[in-house]
C-alpha cells in the first residue's frame, strides 16, 4: 500500500458517524417553547431497580460512546439544583404524603429535563439517563396514584430514542443488595407502603409490585426488557448492539 493510500484509509477510519436526526415528540403537552427540530442528540434511558446493574452498564456505555467520538452526559433522578436537597430532607423525615412526594419528584425531573437533558440534546450530545419517568410512575402506581393523572403529569417528558429495562428478580436483588451494603434501604423496601412490618418481606413484596407496574407500563411506553440475570458482558453486548441500531437511525422513538 502506498503512503498516500495509507493516509487516506486512516483518515476514513477517523470519520465519526453522525447519527441521523429522528422525528421527536413529547408524551403529552410537553415543555412550552421547545423547538423539537433542534434536538440533535440522542436520549437513551436505562431503567431498573437498585442492584440491577444500571450504573455498571452506564459507565461502560459512556466509555464506549466517547471512544466512538460521541460526547456523552449522564443524568439521573434526584440530582436537580432546584429540589434535590429538599427532597432528600423530606424523604429522610418521611413527612410527605403521596401526591406531594410525587409532585416533588416531578419537579426534580422537570428541572433536569429543562436544564440538562434538553440543552445537551440541543448541543448534539448523547444523553444517558439513569432512570427516567417510568421508575417514578411505577413507584407512584404501587402507592395507588391514578394512572391518568400520572400520564398527564409526565406528558412533559420527551420520548427517548431508546429505553432499556434491566429486569432482575426481587430474590436476586436481595442477594445483590446484601453483597454491596449488607442492609436494605427503607424506600427501596417500600416500607412507607405498609406491605409488611418486616423489612425483608416488604422488600420482596414491594419489588414484585414495582416489577409488575413496569411490565404494565411497557404496553404504553414502548421499552425493551433486558434480562439482567446474565453476566455483565453479555448484557453490555446486547445494549451495544441495540444502541448501534439507534445511532444508525434504524430505530425510531
Amino acid at each position: 500500500m502506498s503512503t498516500a493510500r495509507l493516509k487516506k484509509s486512516a483518515a476514513r477510519q477517523n470519520i465519526i458517524m453522525l447519527p441521523p436526526r429522528t422525528k421527536r415528540r413529547f408524551y403529552g403537552d410537553g415543555i412550552p417553547g421547545v423547538d423539537l427540530e433542534k434536538l440533535a442528540g440522542k436520549l437513551i434511558v436505562i431503567e431498573g431497580a437498585d442492584g440491577s446493574g444500571r450504573s455498571t452498564q452506564i459507565s461502560r456505555l459512556v466509555e464506549w460512546l466517547e471512544g466512538c467520538g460521541h460526547a456523552t452526559i449522564q443524568v439521573g433522578l434526584k440530582r436537580s439544583t432546584l429540589v434535590s436537597e429538599e427532597l432528600d430532607r423530606a424523604q429522610h423525615g418521611n413527612t410527605l404524603s403521596r401526591t406531594t412526594l410525587s409532585l416533588f419528584y416531578a419537579t426534580d425531573f422537570a428541572d433536569q429535563l429543562e436544564n440538562v437533558i434538553l440543552p445537551s440534546l440541543r448541543a448534539g450530545m448523547m444523553v444517558l439517563a439513569d432512570r427516567y419517568i417510568y421508575t417514578l410512575m411505577a413507584r407512584d402506581l404501587v402507592r395507588g396514584m391514578d394512572e391518568d393523572w400520572l400520564k398527564n403529569l409526565y406528558g412533559i417528558a420527551l420520548v427517548p430514542d431508546a429505553v432499556f429495562y434491566l429486569n432482575v428478580s426481587p430474590e436476586e436483588l436481595v442477594q445483590r443488595t446484601f453483597q454491596k451494603k449488607l442492609a436494605l434501604d427503607y424506600w427501596e423496601s417500600g416500607m412507607d407502603v405498609g406491605l409488611s412490618r418486616d423489612m425483608f418481606d416488604s422488600f420482596l413484596k414491594y419489588q414484585t409490585l414495582v416489577e409488575e407496574q413496569f411490565k404494565h407500563l411497557q404496553s404504553n411506553y414502548d421499552f425493551t426488557i433486558i434480562d439482567g440475570h446474565r453476566p455483565s458482558n453479555a448484557i453490555f453486548a446486547e445494549l451495544q448492539q441495540r444502541i448501534e441500531a439507534v445511532l444508525a437511525g434504524l430505530v425510531k422513538p
Partner: protein, 224 residues
C-alpha cells in the same frame, strides 16, 4: 369525596383587597364560635426552601414554577385542608387552584396539563372573585414604588424590561384568564372598587345564606 366541612376560596389580582376581606371573614366566623381554618397560597414549610431558592436564583421555568407550587399546594391539601374538611371545618383559602390555572397558563403551560395536575383538589363551595379595575389594583401595589420581585412582576415572561411595565402587562393578562373561567367555576364576583365595609357585608351575607353556619359550632358536641 363527601365531607362535612366547607371550602371557601378568594381569588383576584394582587392589590384587589381579597386578603383583607378573607381576614375579616375569618374574624367574624371565629367570633361566631365556629370551627374555622385559614390557609394561604404558597405557604407550606416543607416546600418553602426550594421555592425561595428557585425564585431568588431565578432557576424556575414555567414548568418548574408550576410544579413547585403544585407540590406546595398538595402538601397543604393532604396534610391540612382535606383532613380539616373531613373533620367538619370551614376552610378559608387565600388563593386556590384558580391562581395556578391563571398564572401558569399565562406563563405558557398547557391549560389541560395544569388542570390535570390539580384534579385531585375538591372545588370550593364558594369562590369569591374580587374584581377591581386593573388601574386600581396596580395603584394599590405600585403607589409605594415597592421593589417588585422578579417572578411577581412576571419578568420571566419578557413582556417588558421595566419591572413596573412588566407587572402591568402580566396582571392584565391574568385578569383576562380569571374572567374567562368565571362562569365555569361559578365565581361570586365582588366589586372590589367599593368600600371595604360594603364588600365585607356582601361576603358575610353570602356565606350566611349559603352555609348552615350553626352546623360548624365549636362546642356543638358538648351542647347537644
Amino acid at each position: 369525596m363527601n365531607f362535612p366541612g366547607r371550602l371557601i376560596a378568594v381569588e383576584g389580582l394582587d392589590g384587589s383587597g381579597k386578603s383583607t376581606q378573607i381576614h375579616l371573614l375569618k374574624k367574624w366566623l371565629e367570633v361566631e364560635g365556629l370551627k374555622v381554618f385559614f390557609s394561604e397560597w404558597n405557604s407550606s414549610e416543607l416546600v418553602k426552601s426550594a421555592t425561595s431558592k428557585g425564585k431568588n436564583r431565578q432557576l424556575l421555568t414555567p414548568t418548574t414554577f408550576s410544579l413547585i407550587h403544585a407540590t406546595d399546594f398538595a402538601d397543604r391539601y393532604e396534610r391540612q385542608l382535606m383532613p380539616l374538611l373531613r373533620a367538619g371545618y370551614i376552610v378559608l383559602c387565600d388563593r386556590y387552584i384558580f391562581t395556578a390555572y391563571v398564572r401558569d397558563t399565562v406563563r405558557g403551560c398547557s391549560p389541560r396539563w395544569v388542570r390535570g395536575i390539580y384534579n385531585f383538589a375538591a372545588l370550593p363551595d364558594l369562590t369569591f372573585f374580587f374584581k377591581a379595575d386593573l388601574e386600581v389594583s396596580l395603584a394599590r401595589i405600585l403607589d409605594g414604588r415597592p421593589e417588585l420581585k422578579y417572578f411577581e412582576a412576571g419578568m420571566d415572561l419578557h413582556l417588558s424590561s421595566d419591572p413596573y411595565e412588566s407587572f402591568r402587562l402580566f396582571q392584565g393578562r391574568m385578569i383576562e384568564r380569571y374572567l374567562s373561567m368565571s362562569d365555569e367555576f361559578r365565581f361570586i364576583t365582588v366589586d372590589a372598587n367599593q368600600p371595604i365595609e360594603t364588600q365585607q357585608s356582601f361576603v358575610r351575607e353570602t356565606v350566611a345564606s349559603r352555609l348552615k353556619l350553626a352546623a360548624f359550632a365549636r362546642n356543638k358536641a358538648r351542647a347537644s
